[in-house]
Symmetry: C2
Subunit: 287 residues, 2 copies
C-alpha cells in the first residue's frame, strides 16, 4: 500500500450533501472520482428501490452502508411491532442495494421514561430478534453508539464498548458489527481498549470533526475533518489495527453545508479527506 | 431518618442564581430556610474574602463547596505555573470559608491540540502536585468529570470511573474526592459500577436535569429537577450507597433563570427539590 494520499477508500455518506437526490449523489460521486457511497433510506425511497438498485449497479460505486434502522427502545408493544417490521424492510433494502452494512441507531428513552437500563435491555432484545433475519438475507448489521449528548433522544448506547457487547450478544462478528463514528466516540477514555476489543467487528468507519464552540444546533453542526479536535490519524490507525479494511465514510451533518453548492462541497470534502486521512483505510499510524 | 420530604440537606449552588451577589445569596438562603450554599470564587472575590468569611460564619450556612479551580491541561510551562498559583489561592479560599470541598474542573484540550491522552497525564500531574498543599490546609479536593459534550473545551475527564482513578492516584479519599453531577454523568453505562467503586470518595453531589430538545446554548440550558430525563431517585440512592452523606447541591446553569426574580427562582428550586429528591441525602431507593 502506497503512503500517498488517495481517495480509493473514500465514501460519501449522502447526508453530507442532503440537497442531492440519490441519482444526483450517485452522479456526483462518479464525476468526482469518489468510489463509494453511504445511502440513506429516505432518498432511496424517493427514487424507488428498483430504480435505486439499477442506478447504483450501473454506477459501479460500492455501497458502504445503508442508513438507518434500529429504534428498538419503544416501551409499548405496538411501537416494537412497528419497529420490527420497519427493520425487516430496511434489511431487505440493504440486501437489494448490496450495502456493506445496515446502520442501526438504537433509539433513546421513550416519552416520559427515565429508565436507561430498561431501554438498553430492549435494544438487546431487538437486536437478537433482527439478527437471524439479517443472516437469511446476507446483510451485516452495524450498531452505532452515539455521543452521550444524544443519549436521551436518539441512542441509549453511547460508547464502543457497550456497542461491542450488544453486538457480540446478538451474533457473530460477520452478522452484527459496530459503527465507529469519530464524532460520536472520540472523547471516550476507554476508546483504545474498546477498539482493540472490537477486532473483526467494525462494520463501518465514519469521519467528521468535533468543533467548538458547540454550534447552536448541536445535531447539525459537525465540522469538516481538520476543523476540530479529533485526532483522526490516531483513530484511523486504531480502527485499522482492529482489522477494518472497508470504506471511510464522510458523514457531516451540517446545516450550513446544506445551503451550499453540492459539487463544491464534495470538492472541499475530498480536499479535507486527503489532508486529514490518507491512502490507508483509516489513516497512517500516529507519529 | 424520616421519609418525609425535607430541605435539611439542600444546598444552593450560587451559579443557579448568578444574579445574586454573595451577600444576597447568603441572605436569600437564610430567609428561604436553605441550610447550605455552594460558593463561587468570582462573587466571593467581589465581596472580598474576609467579608465573605464573616458573612458566611454569621449566617450559620454550611458551605458545601467552593467552585472552582483546576484547569491543569495547559501544554506550556507558563500556563501550568499560573494554574499552580491559582489553584493554591483557591485552596486558601476554600480553607478560609470552611468549604466541604474545592471543586476542580480539569480543563480541556489546549488550543490546537488533539492529544487527549497527553492532557489527561497533565491532569494527573497537576492533581498530584496540588494534593499535599490541600492536605496542609485541611481542604478536600473534588475532581469533577463533565459531560463529553465539554471534552474539547472544559474537561478531558468525562466519567466517574476516570475521575475516581485520578483521585485515587493523587491521594486518599479524605484528600481527593470526586464530584457526582447528575447532568454530567447520568448517561454513562458504567455509572452504577463506578459509583460503587467511588465508595467513600464522593465529595459533592450536584443535581439539575438533562432536557430535550437540547437548548441552543448547551452550556447554559440545564433543566430544573423533574423537567428532564435523569432518574434522580436512582442516582441519589446510588450516591448514598457509596457512602455520601453531605449536602445535595442544586446547580442549574440556565440563562433563562438568570433573567428571573431571584427569590422566586429559589422557591421554585425548593419545590422541585422536595418533589424529586427526598429527606435522605441523595434520595430514596429505586421503587
Amino acid at each position: 500500500v502506497s503512503g500517498a494520499p488517495s481517495l480509493e477508500r473514500m465514501s460519501l455518506n449522502q447526508r453530507t450533501i442532503r440537497q442531492w437526490s440519490l441519482p444526483q449523489a450517485i452522479d456526483g460521486c462518479v464525476r468526482a472520482g469518489v468510489p463509494a457511497i453511504g445511502v440513506w433510506r429516505e432518498p432511496l425511497a424517493d427514487t424507488g428501490l428498483s430504480a435505486g438498485v439499477r442506478l447504483l449497479r450501473r454506477s459501479g460505486l460500492r455501497v458502504s452502508s445503508l442508513c438507518r434502522a434500529g429504534f428498538f427502545t419503544d416501551d409499548d408493544q405496538a411501537g416494537r411491532t412497528r419497529a420490527k417490521a420497519a427493520n425487516r424492510r430496511a434489511v431487505d433494502e440493504a440486501a437489494a442495494i448490496g450495502a456493506a452494512c445496515l446502520v442501526l441507531v438504537v433509539g433513546g428513552l421513550p416519552e416520559g421514561s427515565r429508565d436507561l437500563d430498561g431501554a438498553r435491555v430492549r435494544v438487546a432484545d431487538g437486536l437478537a430478534d433482527l439478527a437471524p433475519y439479517a443472516v437469511e438475507n446476507g446483510v451485516r448489521l452495524a450498531v452505532e453508539p452515539m455521543h452521550p449528548a444524544f443519549a436521551a433522544d436518539r441512542s441509549v448506547v453511547t460508547n464502543i464498548g457497550e456497542a461491542v457487547d450488544l453486538a457480540a450478544a446478538a451474533g457473530s462478528a460477520a452478522v452484527v458489527g459496530v459503527v465507529v463514528d469519530a464524532y460520536h466516540v472520540w472523547w471516550d477514555p476507554h476508546l483504545a481498549t474498546d477498539l482493540a476489543r472490537s477486532a473483526g467487528r467494525i462494520a463501518s468507519y465514519q469521519v467528521s470533526d468535533w468543533v467548538t464552540p458547540i454550534p447552536a444546533d448541536i445535531l447539525n453542526g459537525r465540522g469538516l475533518m481538520g476543523d476540530g479536535h479529533i485526532d483522526l490519524p490516531w483513530l484511523g490507525a486504531a480502527v485499522e489495527r482492529a482489522g477494518y479494511r472497508g470504506d471511510v465514510e464522510v458523514e457531516i451533518f451540517n446545516s450550513r453545508l446544506w445551503a451550499e453548492d453540492p459539487a463544491g462541497i464534495l470538492e472541499k470534502v475530498k480536499e479535507r479527506y486527503l489532508a486529514n486521512l490518507s491512502a490507508r483505510p483509516g489513516g497512517d499510524v500516529r507519529p
